[in-house]
């Protein structure tokens, strides 16, 4: 219990420190003196480049952490996450299709909305494929099916792409990153992600009740149908909104709840907010690492997350092996 009390303030402090670092660190290191001197170049770097990037990092990280914790709670499965189960890929497919069919240019909102539709379709398909009482096996298999389908769709769009610009854009989505994001992207992603987070947080009690299984939850007065649609909508908005502006960033939702359980306990509802905060910290840290790595061009954030996430996933799977067989 004592660890729970300091966990949240400590995490919040970590996010603040990482956000400050994220604003200061990069090809040009910004210092307090430069800011005080009102240097126009450093100001431009700060406001045009670093600030939107840091805010987007917090937003995307927090919402992906939240989405992962909520999915694990709903499916009562510690391996669930939008990325590993193909929901992110479906969102990316939605966004890619909007580029492919050349409708993304009609309005800045078209692409993110297509991403959201893709994400929500992914959630609905996942629920339909794996069923309510998802076993590890049926869940992982459903994830494989969805990912395969989405990746195939994206590859198809890529090989049939109408223009080189479209092909480049598509590749960018598949990698994911926070590079060169402006306040324009932020204004599009923020409302989608915030509404998604509110919808997911509204499922708190349903997720808690699901600890006792489907029957247990229903006997506690939970409307599981409603919870399912609310989650599909919320996670669809989060994954669609974040994928549309940053591309696919996987594993955040997988890693973060696992790190939080020892700190705040395993009750799914209590895990949501800490997972969001830790998700923000993880993505900010990953984005800082991306900038500090030597080399001519920056590594994409999605790549770094996968490099960290895939081994983590493996370790997790290994420790759960006894349950699987």
């Amino acid at each position: 219990m004592t660890s729970r009390r300091w966990a949240m303030p400590a995490l919040l402090a970590l996010v603040v420190v990482l956000a400050i670092l994220s604003v200061a660190v990069g090809r040009v290191t910004l210092t307090w003196d430069m800011w005080k001197a009102q240097d126009p170049v450093s100001r431009a770097i700060l406001i045009e480049l670093r600030l939107p990037r840091a805010i987007l990092g917090v937003l995307v990280g927090a919402s992906l952490g939240l989405a992962g914790a909520a999915m694990q709670g709903y499916l009562r499965n510690a391996l669930a996450e939008p990325g590993t189960l193909g929901v992110s890929a479906m969102a990316a497919l939605g966004a890619v299709l909007s580029i492919f069919f050349n409708i993304a240019g009609l309005h800045p909102w078209v692409l993110p909305i297509c991403g959201v539709i893709g994400g929500m379709t992914g959630m609905a398909a996942l629920f339909a494929l794996s069923g309510m009482t998802a076993s590890v096996l049926s869940l992982v298999l459903s994830g494989i099916i969805l990912s395969a389908l989405a990746v195939a769709g994206i590859s198809l769009a890529l090989s049939l792409s109408p223009s080189p610009w479209a092909a480049t854009e598509i590749v960018r989505w598949m990698l994911g990153g926070l590079t060169d994001r402006s306040f324009d992207e932020l204004t599009i992603a923020t409302p989608l992600i915030v509404v998604g987070c509110i919808a997911v947080l509204g499922c708190r009690r349903s997720l808690d009740a699901l600890t006792l299984g489907e029957t247990g939850a229903r006997s506690l007065g939970i409307d599981l149908n409603r919870a399912q649609w609310q989650l599909a909508l919320g996670i669809g908005l989060i994954v669609g909104g974040s994928t549309a502006v940053t591309g696919m960033i996987g594993f955040v939702g997988l890693i973060v709840p696992h790190l939080m359980r020892p700190l705040v306990g395993s009750r799914p509802g209590a895990l949501l907010v800490p997972s969001a905060i830790a998700g923000a910290a993880l993505v900010l840290a990953g984005d800082i690492v991306v900038r500090l790595l030597p080399g001519g061009s920056e590594l994409q954030l999605g790549v770094v997350m996968s490099l960290v996430g895939a081994p983590f996933f493996f370790v997790l799977l290994h420790s759960m092996r006894r349950k699987l067989t």
Binding site: R76, D208, T211, L212, G213, T215, G216, S219, D223, G265
Partner: protein, 264 residues
């Protein structure tokens, strides 16, 4: 603390799974302040009946009224505050601590009761089931019997008028069975109503005020344990030769099972 009397009126209940009629023409009037045991062979429809009364399954025909109000006209949360349900194989998905698990029983009261009231109800339930000493222990570290007590505490924390328990004694050793039975008896003594399904005939004879025997979806006996658990009914329903033995000098009765009935 005695609660006002409550009653459940089930009339003409029918429930089907596909084309199979699982429950048919069930008429029951259940009163709080009594332990009602529902018996019957596997697949007779006991669990289905309990799920219908808990509002988890919607019957095809017939009605279930809780104190004169149709059960299905109640909002799910409202229903959950009045009727608590302990499933047959309770699932605990995450390794949460005992106190948190018991606290899940307060979910239907969210927004209606203060944190203080919730805490008090949880503590009271843990004290009644004698699990308070494990409050901070993880449920996965408990033995089967201990976990059963904790799950019962979860149900008690809801302080509902009714507790429906689907085979609450399965998997418990005799001592824990009696312990669980005593806890349910305490609920009834305070004016609550308990309906449970059970396979152990002797245990049913000892703990129930009323025994209902279901066979093939229909009620075949309903009355005091001694009236319902007759050799003839047990032979018809279970195909066994069994006998009600009164305990000597006021000790509890036993149902002696001699073996499978030889059909004449």
């Amino acid at each position: 603390m005695t609660r006002p009397a409550s009653n459940l009126k089930i009339s003409g209940l029918q429930f089907r799974r596909g084309t199979r009629v699982v429950l048919d023409a069930i008429d029951l009037h259940l009163q709080s302040g009594a332990v009602t045991a529902v018996l019957g062979p596997n697949g007779a429809g006991k669990s289905t009946l309990l799920s219908c009364i808990a509002g988890l399954l919607r019957p095809e025909r017939g009605s279930i009224e809780l104190d004169g109000t149709s059960l299905h006209s109640l909002a799910a949360m409202q229903r959950a505050r009045r009727i608590a349900f302990l499933p047959q194989t309770p699932e605990i998905a995450w390794s949460i601590d005992v106190q948190t698990l018991v606290g899940l029983g307060r979910i239907p009261f969210h927004g209606l009761s203060s944190d203080e009231e919730d805490r008090t109800a949880v503590t009271r339930a843990m004290i009644r089931t004698e699990v308070a000493q494990w409050a901070d222990r993880t449920v996965t570290t408990l033995s089967g019997g201990e976990r059963a007590r904790v799950l019962l505490a979860r149900v008690l924390a809801g302080e509902s008028d009714w507790i429906l328990a689907d085979e609450p004694f399965t998997g418990l050793d005799p001592s824990h069975q009696f312990e669980a039975a005593e806890l349910l008896r305490a609920v009834v003594d305070q004016g609550g109503g308990v309906v449970l399904t059970i396979h152990d005939l002797t245990l049913a004879a000892r703990i129930a005020d009323r025994v209902i025997i279901i066979d093939d979806g229909r009620i075949v006996a309903d009355g005091t344990p001694q009236d319902a658990l007759t050799p003839q009914i047990l032979r018809d329903v279970y195909n066994i030769d069994a006998q009600w033995l009164d305990g000597a000098n006021g000790t509890p009765p036993t149902i002696a099972i001699h073996g499978r009935a030889t059909r004449s």
